[in-house]
């Protein structure tokens, strides 16, 4: 942990997000509808009223609370976004052409890809005017159950813009919709948001790429800068919809990141999500899947490459609210140096959700003597006709495999990389899009440079 982090006693519940900062933020919003502003005000009140997480909060067990400081940041402004150079880093093909690109929470680029009639790929600001009812119904409409109520309120209060994706009934999109969320400048705070609604029997793939200039090695950019990223995404899959979501996070190594996901899966719908975690000094990811009607399936995947003194904190909740639903979670962490990971997962089966099939697995590959992996795989089952299993393992690889690599003179760093890719392959193979698979591999490679 860097020396600049204030001690816990210095943490203020508002940090840089004071009433004045909020007033300035509101003043900078041009033409936002009244209901939107009203929601933001209510959210700010909730943020200000809620305390920062404390040591005795079960939802924050094992987390480093002293690193959760809100001080020393400023909300990114439009001016900064336009001043930033508009180069897009050298990315693998599947990620290189964003449909929407946001810099410091402002739209900085958009592609004009022809789409089937009725498909909307726009900004939240535009959606507030064009689709207010959809936004009202789905924007952060789900409960926060994983400990970050305060940060969810902060996000809703300060979010300036984000992506809005709407796929109408029966429309199947061939290629993925790619959204970039970029942060630039020192001590910037950003609030990225992506809202995806897949209507009945629609099919789509949406990719969020989160990055800081320095992290993806844009030539000529400064070394790692401290940032604060407080993001959220809402995924909604209506009756029979098929939604694939990929979130790839490559913030700077000095970033404090909180990302809050909500997934709602309706009858016979299927959502596959894969979150890749690479950046951040301290990164927390909360993921809530609600299986609301029979036949719903949520596949929750995550890959984390933790090195240096990074801390990755992942909290998940699979709620089975109806009979005959299925969820399948597989979170894999590769840990090097003094990195720390926390996986806390909970499967909840409501009293009437008979014939639930739920799976939850956390696998930790320990690649150093100092790394620390914490696993809290939980179950709360209130129906009896269920199949629920979970598992957690933490270990180094099989000594025989290790000996094989050593015998061939493969250096430690290269061996770690090989082992990590071998370990991750099972998860990456769940993606049906080969180009996307290759792009994620390329991103993971950057963590070993």
């Amino acid at each position: 942990m860097s020396a600049s982090v204030p001690s816990s006693t210095a943490r203020s519940p508002l940090g840089s997000f004071t009433a004045d900062a909020f007033a300035a933020h509101l003043a900078s919003l041009d033409g936002a509808p009244a209901w939107w502003l009203e929601r933001k005000r209510a959210a700010y009140e909730r943020f200000a009223a809620l305390p920062l997480p404390a040591r005795t909060d079960e939802a924050w067990r094992f987390s480093s609370l002293q690193g959760l400081t809100l001080d020393g940041f400023h909300v990114g402004t439009p001016a900064e976004a336009t001043q930033a150079d508009d180069r897009i880093p050298d990315l693998p093909a599947a990620l290189a052409r964003p449909d929407l690109a946001f810099t410091n929470n402002h739209l900085s680029a958009r592609a004009t890809t022809p789409r089937p009639a009725g498909v909307v790929v726009s900004t939240l600001t535009e959606a507030a005017a064009s689709h207010p009812e959809l936004l009202k119904a789905h924007f952060m409409a789900q409960p926060q159950k994983l400990g970050s109520e305060k940060f969810a309120a902060l996000h809703a209060a300060f979010v300036r813009d984000g992506a809005f994706v709407y796929v109408p009934r029966g429309v199947e999109l061939a290629g993925p919709i790619v959204i970039h969320h970029r942060v630039t400048g020192p001590a910037t705070a950003i609030f990225p948001h992506t809202l995806v609604i897949a209507e009945e029997n629609a099919k789509a793939t949406v990719i969020d790429l989160f990055y800081a200039d320095a992290r993806l090695s844009l030539p000529g950019t400064a070394a790692a800068l401290p940032h604060f990223a407080c993001g959220a995404n809402d995924l909604y899959a209506a009756h029979g919809a098929q939604l694939t979501y990929v979130g790839a996070q490559a913030w700077s190594y000095e970033t404090l990141s909180l990302q809050l996901n909500s997934t709602v899966v309706r009858r016979d719908a299927r959502v596959q999500s894969l979150n890749l975690h690479l950046g951040g000094r301290q990164s927390r990811h909360e993921s809530l899947s609600q299986l609301q009607a029979p036949g719903a399936l949520s596949e929750m995947l995550a890959l984390t490459v933790a090195d240096g003194s990074q801390e990755f904190d992942q909290r998940t909740l699979q709620i089975h609210q109806a009979p005959d639903t299925k969820s399948d979670l597989l979170y894999k962490n590769s840990l090097r140096q003094t990195a720390k990971t926390i996986f806390s997962g909970l499967i909840v089966v409501d009293p009437d959700a008979q014939r639930t099939d739920a799976y939850q697995s956390n696998r930790n590959l320990m690649l150093s003597e100092e790394a620390e992996a914490n696993s809290l795989p939980g179950l709360e089952i209130q129906a009896n006709d269920v199949r629920c299993t979970h598992g957690a393992t933490s270990s180094r690889i099989d000594p025989e495999q290790e000996f094989y690599l050593q015998a061939r003179g493969i250096p430690r760093e290269a061996a770690d990389k090989l082992l990590t890719f071998g370990f991750f392959e099972e998860v990456l193979n769940r993606l049906t899009d080969d180009e996307l698979h290759a792009a994620l591999r390329a991103l993971i490679e950057t963590q070993f440079e």
């Binding site: 790394a371 179950l379 089952i381 009896n384």
Partner: protein
């Protein structure tokens, strides 16, 4: 095709012994008039603590220890940020903190007072089995009432006394280990126990001594609002081996009672301790117990724990693996019926290289019963060759039964190996159908299936305990189906 009539006729001669028949279910529901010679009254103050200490004629350091513990108890909050809110229903002012017969432990069965013998009668232990269980040290309320195995083991140099006697007669030994495994401030209830403890066993097994027969104690609660706070300390010196067994049934009372024991085990180099519990508390008992052992080099501590009954049980037997190659094990069976919450689990703290731990927990939830597995496995940095294996299986009998699993596993470093697995299932319908086809009632079939579910663990119990366990499961399963 056969008619239904011939089918039933054919099945008639197949005599299936009803495992539940012949057991009087009101047994265990008794309350007995006892002339309590020492009674500290209800509520907990400094005076209560002084009173207990005075009655027991304790040395000043123990009284100070108790008074300090009372302060810690008062200062500590209820752990409701993670535990059930039901804990808030304990009214500490309505509990009796000390009650004793005031008798010295008896040597022979003949010397045991008739009224106490009568209590054992109601326990349903048959004459034959009573002889078999001749080694039982029966604890009636707070004090040991009967003990004779002591004489046998004394020949080997084993000390097997109640904790009061242990404190009085072996202060050096007692003080050296007492409160070291579970410090007063470990949790609110260990602090409470440290303030008001009475009863429990003190055992010392000398170097190299292997105690052939298990040391046993039956615990009973027998007064309304009477909390029992026994304190057990077992020290197994280098290379020794000992098995300790405790079992409890309790009368049903109208208001809640509290049982809050502290059990500390110390296994020195190469020693082995096995601690077996079969408990069946009444539905109104809060059973909040702290159990932990320290295993030194190449030592082994094994907890075999079976929890049936009580309103709320919170018990997580632990092993601190302090020496190289130490081994810890927890085998746990929990059965929660209507109105019961079994919050049980295990705690494995690895503190030396090449230590191994194993946790196998099976729970059964019947009716609206709730069973919870809560566990901690901790492997700090710079250790190598540590292994943990955890398996939790939950069986849900009825549609409204509930089970939870909350493990916490921390591993540092790349030279250790940890795996955790849990599953939740219900009784296989085909299995029940098969057994019903062969003439068992649904209840009997269910009982057999549940016994099968725990069988691999139950086999690890000594014979008479596994018989008792089977009987208890049969009783609990009665009326759960149909």
């Amino acid at each position: 095709m056969r008619t239904t009539d011939t089918l039933s006729n054919e099945l008639e001669p197949v005599a299936i012994e009803n495992p539940v028949a012949g057991i009087d279910q009101t047994k265990g529901d008794f309350q007995y008039d006892v002339a309590y010679e020492f009674d500290a009254g209800t509520g907990l103050t400094e005076k209560t603590v002084d009173y207990i200490s005075a009655v027991k004629k304790e040395a000043p350091w123990i009284r100070e220890f108790r008074q300090n513990a009372l302060k810690v108890f008062r200062a500590k909050p209820m752990p409701t940020h993670w535990a059930t809110k039901d804990l808030e229903n304990i009214d500490f002012d309505k509990i009796r903190y000390y009650l004793a017969q005031g008798q010295k432990p008896k040597r022979t069965w003949d010397e045991v007072p008739d009224d106490i013998k009568k209590t054992f009668e109601r326990l349903g232990i048959p004459e034959q089995e009573r002889k078999f269980l001749a080694g039982v040290e029966a604890q009636f309320d707070s004090e040991a009432a009967y003990s004779n195995i002591k004489d046998i083991v004394a020949k080997q140099g084993v000390i097997f006394v109640n904790s009061t006697e242990g404190l009085r007669e072996h202060p050096e030994l007692f003080r050296k280990f007492f409160g070291k495994v579970i410090p007063t401030g470990d949790n609110k209830f260990s602090a409470l126990n440290s303030a008001v403890f009475s009863g429990g066993s003190f055992i010392y097994v000398p170097k190299g001594v292997k105690v052939a027969q298990p040391l046993q104690a039956y615990f009973r609660i027998n007064a309304e609002n009477f909390g029992q706070f026994e304190r057990t300390l077992i020290i197994a010196d280098e290379g020794s081996e000992v098995t300790y067994m405790e079992g409890c049934t309790a009368p049903k009372f109208s208001t809640s009672t509290l049982h809050s024991a502290v059990v500390e085990l110390v296994a020195l180099k190469g020693a082995k301790i096995q601690y077996i519990t079969v408990q069946n508390w009444a539905n109104n008992v809060f059973n909040l117990v702290t159990k932990r052992g320290v295993a030194h080099e190449e030592a082994e501590i094994k907890w075999i724990d079976c929890n049936i009954g009580s309103r709320l049980t919170m018990k997580y037997p632990g092993v601190v693996l302090k020496g190289r190659k130490a081994r810890g094990e927890v085998i746990s069976i929990a059965l929660a019926n209507d109105g019961q919450h079994q919050d049980t689990g295990a705690k494995m703290i690895h503190a030396a290289d090449e230590t191994t731990s194993n946790i196998v927990a099976k729970s059964i939830s019947v009716g609206q019963g709730r069973s919870t597995y809560r566990g901690v496995v901790h492997i700090p940095k710079h250790l190598k060759g540590c292994k943990n294996n955890t398996e939790c299986d939950a069986l849900l009998i009825n549609t409204n039964s509930r089970t939870d699993t909350y493990p916490a596993i921390t591993v540092r470093g790349d030279r250790n190996y940890v795996q955790h697995e849990a599953s939740v299932s219900k009784v296989n319908e085909e299995m029940i159908f098969y057994m019903q086809q062969r003439g068992l009632t649904e209840g009997q079939a269910m009982s057999l299936a549940v016994n099968g579910f725990v069988n691999d663990l139950a086999r690890q119990f000594p014979m008479e305990y596994s018989v008792e366990l089977k009987r208890l499961i049969d009783l609990e399963m009665e009326g759960s189906v149909g």
